[in-house]
């Protein structure tokens, strides 16, 4: 009666059902075990990596300090600035969304760009209309986009039926499509900016951020203010804040700017900062590697070494002058901060921090009063001597070899460099050229100092020996004229320097020959860089028969006439003003002077020992005597320069031929002549051919001496 089969069967079936559920649960638990236990470490690392980011911290750039009297004042200094920054997502929401659609749907970005630009065109004419930004999204994509759209008035999805299914169009109000354009247009009313260019630039940034392989970084970039225009004035910053309703996505952020308090008066000395090249900047792209190393915080030192050469993408680095030459010391070391970030890139907490190391505070040998006096005097001299195109002045502390002033004219203001750049490069007087270290000039009679030393040292002339000057010298068919037509009569070396007698030095040139002239030129610092801490120093040129053979490919022979020209600093010989200043510093003292330098810390006192190649005391005393006579004895080429006399200066004038009807006017000397403290070299280039070196350049040197000695009196 009780078969029981059916009931038992269904109980069995319930058991089977439970077994099925058991198996399914078993599979899930097995999978959990695989993910969490077998591969747990790997996933843990992935999760941790994703949640961490290294933020690099800019170090403060070192200040360049210069003396003013007994105080120190900055010559170049970092100060806070106001920068115009844009939050890409808010500035240009329409374009951001367009690129996002392209990314999600992997549509050809070019195509969608074109589509957007077409809408922009039409929206400009009809800002109240709605345009289909992108048609036919499926509900899933639309759902993901709706999150970005939600908060934007002017953009929405619109459902429509297509082939029986629902698709979604993104429609955009014309006003929103042209929003960024209008914002940047409105910005032009506050600051100087090129709106089209700015729009292209910000769109480039949007593309980079949206297409960024590290999606979280991309999100971060879209939300973080990014500087668009640096260093606006406080008034401009206020006006932007006032108008923020018209400027969605535009903010003012704190940045830094490099300030050069005396500006133009030291333009070439300080140099300027410029944006870094892409190739130089990619060091910080190693972020990932850093995170790996940083996981173990004990390895923090290994990051230190990576930071040594690290630059930011938007770093500004020294492009000329001291800023460039001392770049590695001034820059400091990048700091870093390991932070936990959320999916939007917002920093949640700081995990570890390596403070940036600020750049070195650099004390320079420059004296600001002297620098300003030199700048003023040279500018006046160049401007007063039409058609002079420029000039340079270098002042050196005779005792230490420290540069006290270095100025090249025309100059520029490094603070305004970026703004003035186009004007500067278009100026035919080439204001960017640092004539003080890079300008190559024929030294003219200034080189007679070298010839005199060479002649005495090699013994081609004995002290007191005289040479007769008849006003001209005619060894062959060609005439070599002296500065005084009637001739100087018989004169010894000191008198030859005093009167700048060409014939005397023609004779010396013949007696010395090119090799000995060149040798002494080299020993006295010509033909080579002085090694001063300024970028782009020139070498000048000391010719030699080999050199001539090489450049003329053997066609032009070295002639005795070239020796004569060599000795009076004419012909192919080229020197830089700083080399001449170095020469005078060397002549002014008996001991070996330290090399020329700008960093105060590099200073070391004059030493007895040093190079054995130095001219002897007697020679130097003789030459100094000659240089004193130039200024202080009647008949000296600078004897009627009262300014120089007043400071008891010694020196040499030079008037070097520089093309037809043009001369370079030189004065190089030191003061006071009995106990020399300061050596100065001045050149004014391309003055009229009737101008004389002492008359044009002398007053500049006089002004510098006066300032320098006035200060030393105060001390």
């Amino acid at each position: 009666m009780y078969g029981g089969g059916a009931t038992r069967l269904s109980t069995t079936r319930i058991r089977t059902l439970l077994l099925a559920i058991t198996l399914a649960f078993g599979a899930i638990v097995g999978r959990l075990g695989y993910l969490q236990i077998a591969r747990g470490e790997e996933y843990r690392r992935r999760a941790v990596d994703r949640s961490l980011r290294i933020d690099f911290l800019r170090p403060r750039r070192g200040t360049l300090w210069a003396h003013r009297g007994s105080d120190l004042e900055p010559l170049a200094e970092e100060r806070p600035s106001h920068d115009v920054a844009v939050v890409l997502r808010d500035l240009d929401p329409a374009y951001h969304l367009v690129r996002k659609v392209a990314r999600i749907r992997t549509i050809d970005p070019e195509e969608i760009d074109l589509r957007f630009r077409a809408i922009e065109e039409r929206a400009r004419e009809d800002p109240t209309a709605e345009f289909v930004l992108y048609p036919g999204l499926d509900s899933k994509t639309s759902r993901r986009l709706s999150r970005s759209i939600r908060k934007l008035p002017g953009i929405r999805t619109r459902a429509r039926t297509l082939d029986g299914g629902t698709v979604f169009d993104i429609v955009i109000a014309g006003g929103l499509a042209t929003r960024a354009e209008r914002t940047l247009e409105a910005l032009t009313r506050v600051v100087e900016i090129e709106p089209r260019q700015a729009l292209e630039e910000t769109r480039g940034w949007i593309r980079d951020a949206v297409d960024c392989t590290d999606v979280y970084q991309g999100l971060h970039d879209l939300r973080t203010p990014r500087p668009l225009l640096r260093d606006i004035s406080f008034e401009e910053a206020l006006r932007i804040e006032e108008r923020h309703a018209d400027l969605p996505g535009v903010t003012v952020i704190e940045g830094v700017r490099r300030v050069y308090p005396i500006g133009e008066a030291a333009g070439h000395l300080t140099g300027y900062l410029g944006p870094i090249n892409k190739e130089e900047a990619d060091d910080l792209a190693e972020e990932k590697r850093l995170v790996d190393r940083w996981r173990d915080l004990r390895q923090i030192d290994s990051i230190r070494e990576l930071r040594e050469g690290a630059h930011f993408k938007d770093d500004r680095v020294g492009r000329d002058g001291l800023e460039r030459a001392l770049e590695s010391d001034l820059r400091g070391m990048v700091g870093a901060e390991l932070v936990e970030r959320d999916v939007r890139g917002t920093v949640v907490r700081e995990i570890a921090r390596l403070a940036p190391v600020p750049g070195e505070e650099m004390r320079l040998t420059i004296d600001l009063d002297l620098q300003e006096a030199a700048a003023e005097a040279l500018a006046a001299a160049v401007d007063a001597n039409e058609p002079a195109t420029g000039g340079a002045v270098v002042a050196v502390d005779v005792q230490t070899g420290g540069i006290l002033a270095l100025f090249s004219y025309p100059s520029f203001d490094p603070s305004r460099f970026a703004k003035d750049y186009l004007t500067l490069i278009a100026d035919p007087r080439r204001p960017l050229n640092n004539r003080a270290v890079r300008g190559s000039y024929a030294p003219g009679s200034v080189f007679k100092i070298v010839s005199a030393i060479a002649a005495l040292e090699t013994g081609v002339i004995r002290p007191g020996e005289t040479v007769r000057c008849t006003g001209s010298f005619r060894p062959g068919s060609r005439w070599f004229k002296c500065s005084k037509k009637s001739g100087h009569g018989r004169l010894e070396l000191r008198e030859a320097l005093q009167r700048s007698c060409n014939v005397f030095f023609y004779e010396m040139g013949e007696r010395l020959g090119p090799d000995r002239l060149r040798d002494w030129g080299l020993r006295l610092g010509f033909g080579e860089r002085t090694g001063v801490e300024i970028h782009g120093e020139g070498r000048g040129l000391l010719p030699s028969p080999e050199w001539l053979r090489q450049i003329s490919k053997g066609r032009t022979p070295w002639t005795p006439g070239l020796n004569r020209n060599y000795a009076i600093g004419q012909g192919d010989i080229q020197v830089t003003p700083i080399q001449v200043a170095g020469l005078l510093a060397a002549v002014a003292g008996d001991n070996t002077p330290p090399p020329l330098h700008l960093r105060a810390s590099a200073a070391s006192p004059r030493t007895e020992s040093g190079r054995t190649t130095r001219p002897g005391r007697g020679t130097l005393e003789t030459v100094r005597e000659g240089l004193r006579w130039v200024v202080q004895r009647p008949g000296g080429t600078a004897a009627n320069r009262d300014g120089l006399k007043a400071v008891r200066a010694a020196g040499k004038t030079g008037t070097a031929q520089a093309g037809p009807d043009r001369n370079h006017a030189w004065f190089a000397g030191f003061a006071p002549s009995d106990r020399p403290r300061v050596a100065v070299a001045v050149v004014v280039e391309k003055v009229a051919s009737n101008s004389h070196g002492g008359e044009v350049a002398g007053p500049v040197a006089a002004a510098v001496f006066a300032k320098a000695l006035e200060e030393s009196v105060e001390e």
């Binding site: 969490q36 509900s139 959320d342």
Partner: protein, 379 residues
């Protein structure tokens, strides 16, 4: 109704699952910068509301429901139709009818209605032995399925299939028939994939097979989920400490992917423990089914168990990358009113049956001792 027969183990297990759910809702909705307890509080309120409904379900004798299977079923269908007219549209599909306290999701209600209807329809095993007998249950299932697909809500529609098959199986349909139908269904899959699915649905399946293809698109959710689960390790990163959760890398943290949160923060131990609780719930429920002589009751329990179990399996399966992503929630744990209510009703039905050992006209082969005990007057 016999209150003494109430299943305390089920209630305890249920209580533990609910507690875990609230604890992790608290964790999932808190970000480091913004502690937020709103979801957890709302969930607690809903649990209270659902408990009232649960008691109401217990009070209505299931056989009374069984006898009213036709109006219940038709009511469910009516709601499904109504959603097209009054439904709230979100994310491109219309699934909700706003009802003030909770937005009612007719597809959820339909699951319960279908279980009751099928239980009623399948209570006599004999017709099921033939192909013809299978027409009615399949029709009963496919009509609501079609309506739900139309919303569109693939996940909710698909979950009706395991309910149907399990109930047919327990109702003693022929295994051969069921296997043939299942085989035919599987064979149709590629066709459905090619012509029946929308692009985003296809993308989810592609992403399931290889999430790395589109790591920021369709694969994003699954990659984040796997990372969350995997990074939990054996013992987890600690409650409130999961970076995937708290830095908001994991999407849908308090709804679809709450299991990933648990796995990240409590690790294998916690996630496995939760799965064990579910398993215990289903095993206890199926033991009620096995004890129940009345076919309607037994089938209602089966349907309710399969409804809950398939949601748990599909939800946790997708979290660990064993199944494609569907919008199915984790019963009692995920944040969501309708799902919570339906899960409570399902457990209510199970316990309802367990508390009512109804007299049955014993068919052939009914064991004597069971027949005797179950004929004792209870109400």
């Amino acid at each position: 109704m016999d209150w003494r027969r109430i299943s305390w183990p089920i209630l305890i297990v249920l209580g533990l699952i609910l507690a875990i759910g609230v604890v992790f809702l608290l964790s999932a909705s808190t970000t480091p910068t913004r502690p937020y307890a709103g979801f957890a509080e709302a969930q607690v309120k809903r649990v209270v509301f659902c408990l009232i409904c649960f008691v109401v379900v217990l009070l209505i004798p299931y056989d009374w429901m069984g006898r009213r299977a036709v109006p219940i079923y038709l009511g469910g269908i009516a709601l499904l139709v109504a959603v097209f007219f009054v439904g709230r549209t979100a994310n491109g599909s219309s699934r909700w009818i706003p009802m003030g306290f909770i937005d009612l999701q007719p597809s959820e209600v339909m699951k319960v209605a279908l279980i009751v209807a099928l239980a009623h329809c399948l209570r006599c095993p004999e017709p099921l032995r033939s192909w013809r007998g299978l027409v009615a249950p399949f029709a009963l299932t496919f009509i609501p399925m079609a309506l739900i697909l139309k919303q569109p809500d693939l996940g909710s529609a698909a979950i009706l299939l395991p309910i149907l098959f399990a109930m047919l199986y327990v109702a003693r349909a022929r295994i051969l028939h069921l296997s043939l139908i299942a085989a035919a269904g599987l064979a149709a899959c590629p066709i459905v994939y090619l012509f029946g699915l929308k692009a985003y649905q296809k993308a989810r399946i592609t992403a399931f097979i290889n999430p790395e293809v589109e790591p920021l698109g369709a694969g994003y959710q699954i990659l984040q989920s796997l990372t969350a689960v995997g990074s939990g390790g054996l013992t987890g990163r600690g409650w409130g400490e999961g970076t995937q959760t708290h830095l908001q890398f994991l999407p849908e943290r308090h709804t679809d992917f709450i299991f990933a949160v648990i796995a990240e923060e409590w690790g294998f131990v916690g996630a496995g423990g939760l799965l064990f609780l579910y398993f215990a719930l289903f095993a206890l429920a199926l033991s009620i089914a096995a004890r129940t002589r009345d076919p309607t009751g037994r089938l209602i329990v089966t349907g309710a168990v399969v409804l809950l179990a398939s949601q748990v399996i599909i939800n946790t399966g997708m979290t660990v990358g064993l199944m494609p992503i569907t919008g199915l929630t984790l019963p009692f744990v995920s944040f969501g009113g309708s799902s919570l209510l339906v899960s409570f009703i399902a457990v209510g039905l199970i316990m309802n049956v367990g508390m009512r050992p109804l007299p049955v006209l014993a068919p052939d082969g009914f064991p004597r001792e069971f027949a005797l005990r179950s004929t004792l007057p209870t109400l």
